[in-house]
Every structure is written in C-alpha cells, then in structure tokens.
C-alpha cells in the first residue's frame, strides 16, 4: 500500500500562521486533510485542542469541523447556481442560526473580504479571485479557531494572489485565527511565520522566522 505520509511529528500552537510546502506528491495536502478531519489516518495519533481526533466517528468529526474549523480549497468548492450570500450562509444554516442573524453575519464576512456588491451573484458570475474570496468568507463566517487553506492561490493570477494573501494575513493578525496554508509558491509562503517543508511523506525542514 502506498503511504502518503510516513511519520510526521508536529505541534502547532494556537494563533500560529503555518505554511506547508513541498513538491507535488510530497504528501502536504494529505497532511492538511488529516489535520482538517476531512480524511482519516490509517495509524497514528492526532489531538486537536486536546481531543483525540482518531477516536471520533464521522459524525463527531463533522461537528468538530462545524464548530472549530474552516476550509479554503484550490478549486473554491462553492455550490453552483447558488448566490454568494447563500454560499456563505450555508455553514451557519447547519449551526441552526436564525435567518436574520445568519444574513447579517454573512454580509459582514463578505464585506471583510471586499465583496460587498456581489451578494446575489452566483459563482458562475464571479471571477476566480472573487470566488476564492467568497470561499474565504464562507470559511470565516463561523469564526473558526483554525483555518485550513489548501493551495488557495493555485488557480489565481499574481494580483488576486496578493489580495488573498493579505486577507489571510489580516485574519491571523487581527482575529488570532490559526492558519495552515498549503502552497508551493515561495512568495505566498513568505507571509507565514513558520514554514514546514514536507518531502516524501516526512518533515524535511521546520523553520520559524523571528
């Protein structure tokens, strides 16, 4: 059996901004999916805020994602034919929040990513950069303690890449959200204080800027 990760020993502290780098196929995305509870490891132990994640069932992992984690993907993963506002509202809907509060929070989130005028546009009517900003708004509208971003700038040009990096940096600095950012672009990784390089399923280097 192919092992994407062979032995990773990591501790990430609350409020850190970590960039995970590595060549294609190094296992960096797998690492992030495991940390984000989107995938389950075959062996090993993972504690999130003291919770033994590998002992949780699928339902409990869903609830952990619902209340603590946010995701941004390379391919945006917005619901098609669904307005930006409704996409952002979705995680709040699963939290059972009342309609009015849901709308206020979603509008605020879209404002904070610089999209106050695109509430009713569907993904098809938005550019890549705008779609990714909607996805970020959806990830942060629940005020998660940790945000996972898997190659969030992989499909974007350099100008919009810069926008997204700025938004992430601001979220980490102002709101204290822990951010794990997977990327293979040096200048994107440069915004993080700590950079972990994965190679062949192992940690090759782990450096923290002072």
């Amino acid at each position: 059996m192919f092992q994407a990760l062979k032995g990773i020993d990591l501790t990430i502290h609350r409020g850190e901004f970590v960039a995970i780098m590595g060549p294609s196929g190094s296992g960096k995305s797998t690492l992030m999916n495991l940390l984000g509870c989107l995938d389950t490891p075959t062996t090993g132990s993972y504690r999130y805020e003291g919770i033994e994640v590998e002992t949780l069932n699928a339902n409990q992992r869903s609830l952990l994602r619902r209340y603590a984690l946010g995701f941004v993907f390379q391919g945006f993963n917005l619901l098609p034919r669904t307005s930006a506002l409704e996409n952002v509202e979705l995680p709040l809907l699963y939290r059972g929040m009342a309609r009015k509060e849901r709308e206020e929070k979603s509008i605020a989130a879209l404002n904070s990513v610089g999209l106050p005028n695109k509430l009713n546009n569907t993904p098809g009517e938005l550019s890549g950069g705008q779609q990714q900003r909607v996805a970020i708004a959806r990830a942060i509208v629940t005020e998660p303690s940790t945000l996972f971003a898997d190659e969030p700038t992989g499909n974007l040009d350099s100008v919009t890449t810069q926008d997204v990096v700025e938004i992430l940096t601001r979220l980490n600095a102002n709101r204290g959200i822990t951010i794990l950012l997977v990327t293979h672009e040096e200048d994107v990784a440069a915004c993080a204080r700590r950079t972990i390089v994965i190679k062949d399923g192992l940690v090759a280097s782990d450096t923290t800027r002072s």
């Binding site: 869903s62 994602r65 619902r66 995701f71 917005l78 034919r81 699963y94």
Partner: protein
C-alpha cells in the same frame, strides 16, 4: 433539524428547476397513465355490465334456427306459435313471464318524416320481461291486445327521428298501410352491445298481425321472450324448455335442435370477463409506462450524481453531518415524488373525466389504484434519489469533494 433539511431541500430544488421538472415529469406521466387506463378500463367493464343488466338479468330468448355459426341459419326452419309460449309458461314453474314476439321492418311516416323502423308485436308482459319503463303516456293493455286496437308505444330514437320536438302522445303515425296512434313513450335504455335499443316501436301482437302484415300461418312468432324467476338455475331451465320444444316441434332423438336459447346472464358473464381482461392488459401497459418513468428518474439522478457527490462533499466539509445531508436528499426526493404523484393524480382525474364522456363510460374514482400509483411513484423517486446520496455520504469528505 427536519425543518432545516426541508428548507435546504426546497432551496436546492428551486436552484435546479430543470432537473426537478424532469424528475417530476417522469413520475407524473407514469402515475397519470396507470390511473387513467385502469379507471377507464373499469368504467368500460361497468358500462357493459349495466347495459347487459338493462336487457333484463334473467332474460332468455328463444329463436328458431340452430344458433350461431354456419349451421345457425334459420332459413326454412318453422317459427313458433303463440301456443308454444302459452304451453311453456304453463308447464315450467320457474318461468316468471313469457311473451311471444313477432317483428317486422316497415316504413313509418309522420308528417314529412319517414324512416324504416323495426316493429315489435307482442303482449303486455313483454315490457315487464325486458324492463321497459314508460316515460310518458301508457303501455298498451290486455284489452288493447284482445281487440287489436291501433295503438303503439315508441322508443326515444323513433320519437327524435319522427317527431323532433313535437309531443308524440296522441299523434298518429302511418306504419305500412295502417294509421296507428302513439299512446306511450318508453324511457331510454341507451346503446347495448347489440345496437340501439331505443330504436323500437312496440304494439299489440294482434294489431301487427291483423292490421299491418296479414296472417298467413299460425307459425308466425319469430321470438319468445322469457324471464325466469329470481334465483333460477338457468341451465336447468334451458334443459326444460329444450325438452318441451323438441316435443312440440316433433324432433326425433337423432335430430338436432332447430331452435336456440339465448341467455343474457351467460353473455353478461362472458362480456364481463372479457372487459376485465382488457382492464388487466391496460394496467400492465400502464405499469410498464410507470417503470419507464422510474427509469427516467433514475437517469436524471445518475447523471447528476457527480455534481451531487461534490455537493455532498462541500456540505460535509463545512460541517454538515452525514445524516443531515441524507435527510436533505430524502426530503428532496420525497417532495419531488409527491409533487409528481399529485400532479399525476390530478391529470389522471381530468383525463378520466374528459375521456369518460367522450367514449361514454361511467367515471368512477378508484381510490385503490390512485393510492397504489402514488405509493409506487414515491418509492421509485425515493429509491433513485436517495440511494446515490447514501453512497456519497458514506465517503470521506475529501473523497466526495474529489469525485469526478
């Protein structure tokens, strides 16, 4: 949680109206066709039964000739006599009423209207045997029969053709060479399997014999109508009649019957089972169309499964539990199936109502088939809408997200 799933499901349906429409279409065509076919088929069965029973339920008709088929010709076979009818009525206890019948086809004229009509000469028991009711005027009486009065009663078709909107009662029509007064109008019976029963003129047998066609022989009765006592075994009755008639017609034991007995109850049973078979055939055809509708739904669901698997992945990733996602898909499937089923039932109701009038069968709402069709459509919709979702919701979120 249920309300939440319902809200999400309705939102999801409204977002993809084409998919929703195609799903509903598959269901409602299936439902509408099966209900329509079964309901109309049953209506036809009912109509046949009603018409047969309007002929008279225990009615037997004695005719000269060997019966149906190639040997059934009545040419050269002697007709019956009035005495035959009297003897049968006297000797067989299970005969409730008996009437000799002589028919003739003659031209009838009223003012400027002329047409050929079948004239029936008989006794007054004929009305009772054949379940005729009077709409206006009166039947003729035994006194009319004895004196051979120039009176007749007419069926509604004759009234319409000859009199139009005029009142026929008391008017005189010319039948053949004689002028006959109309004393009664019969209540309509409608179309039976064997032609328009209302196209008839009935008069005393003696009137027909003496005034219209003249009498050349006593063997001039071409039909004897018999009604049996309620609950009679018609096979035994037919045997008794056959025995007496063979005697009276001097048939040797090596000779076949030269008369036949037509039993309406047997005809009713045969026709009833034939139409029932038709209904079952129609139901089978409709069942196939329901199945085709189901396959249509399955196709729509399978085509959208990639998109929907990704959708499930997204929902799981942002924190929905598998059961919440499944509940949403279940509500979606149930909602679409129920809408399809209800629209199908309404359409079938309208179709049955309209078509029943066009093809002249009674419309009778069949609760059972409506429930069956609705339940089937709901099951098909839920099965095909829910099963792919169940598979997707069991995946790791990341595998659902990456589904191609």
């Amino acid at each position: 949680m249920i309300w939440n799933a319902f809200a999400i499901a309705v939102r999801e349906i409204s977002r993809n109206l084409t998919r929703a429409f195609l799903t509903v279409l598959g269901i409602f065509i299936g439902v509408a066709s099966i209900i329509t076919m079964v309901t109309l088929g049953e209506g036809a069965t009912l109509a046949v039964k009603e018409q047969i029973s309007s002929l008279g339920s225990n009615l037997l008709t004695l005719r000269p000739g060997a019966g149906f088929g190639s040997r059934g010709s009545s040419a050269g076979v002697p007709h019956f006599t009035e005495k035959d009818a009297v003897i049968l009525g006297e000797q067989i206890a299970s005969i409730a009423a008996i009437a000799p019948v002589r028919t003739a086809s003659l031209s009838t004229i009223y003012l400027n209207n002329a047409r050929a009509s079948t004239i029936t000469g008989t006794t007054s028991t004929y009305f009772q045997i054949n379940k005729w009711n009077i709409a206006e005027g009166r039947f003729f009486t035994d006194a009319d029969l004895r004196s051979g009065s120039a009176v007749c009663v007419i069926g509604n078709t004759v009234r319409v053709e000859l009199f139009g909107t005029d009142n026929p009662i008391g008017a005189s029509i010319r039948i053949g060479r004689a002028s006959i007064e109309v004393i009664g109008l019969l209540a309509t019976k409608g179309q039976a399997g064997m032609g328009d029963q209302d196209d008839t003129i009935i008069m005393p047998l003696s009137t027909l014999q003496r005034r219209l066609i003249g009498r050349t022989s006593s063997n001039d009765i071409n039909q004897i109508s018999i009604s049996a006592v309620e609950g009679t075994d018609s096979i035994a009755l037919i045997a008794e009649i056959t025995q007496i008639m063979r005697q009276r017609r001097n048939l040797q034991s090596n000779q076949d019957n030269d008369f036949n007995i037509f039993d309406t109850r047997q005809i009713a049973e045969t026709l009833g089972s034939t139409t029932q078979l038709m209904t079952m055939l129609l139901a089978a055809v409709a069942g196939v169309s329901l199945l085709v509708g189901g396959i249509g739904i399955m196709n729509i669901m399978l085509v959208s499964v990639t998109e929907r698997t990704r959708e499930i992945g997204i929902r799981l990733a942002i924190g929905a539990t598998a059961s919440e996602v499944l509940l949403q898909f279940l509500v979606e499937a149930v909602t679409l199936s129920c809408i399809g089923g209800l629209v199908g039932i309404l359409l079938a109701f309208a179709l049955c109502y309209g078509l029943a009038q066009v093809i002249k069968v009674p419309f009778h709402f069949n609760t059972q088939i409506n429930v069956i069709a609705f339940a089937f459509s709901a099951i098909v919709g839920v099965l095909f809408g829910y099963t792919p979702a169940r598979r997707a919701a069991k995946l790791n979120p990341i595998d659902a997200l990456r589904h191609e």
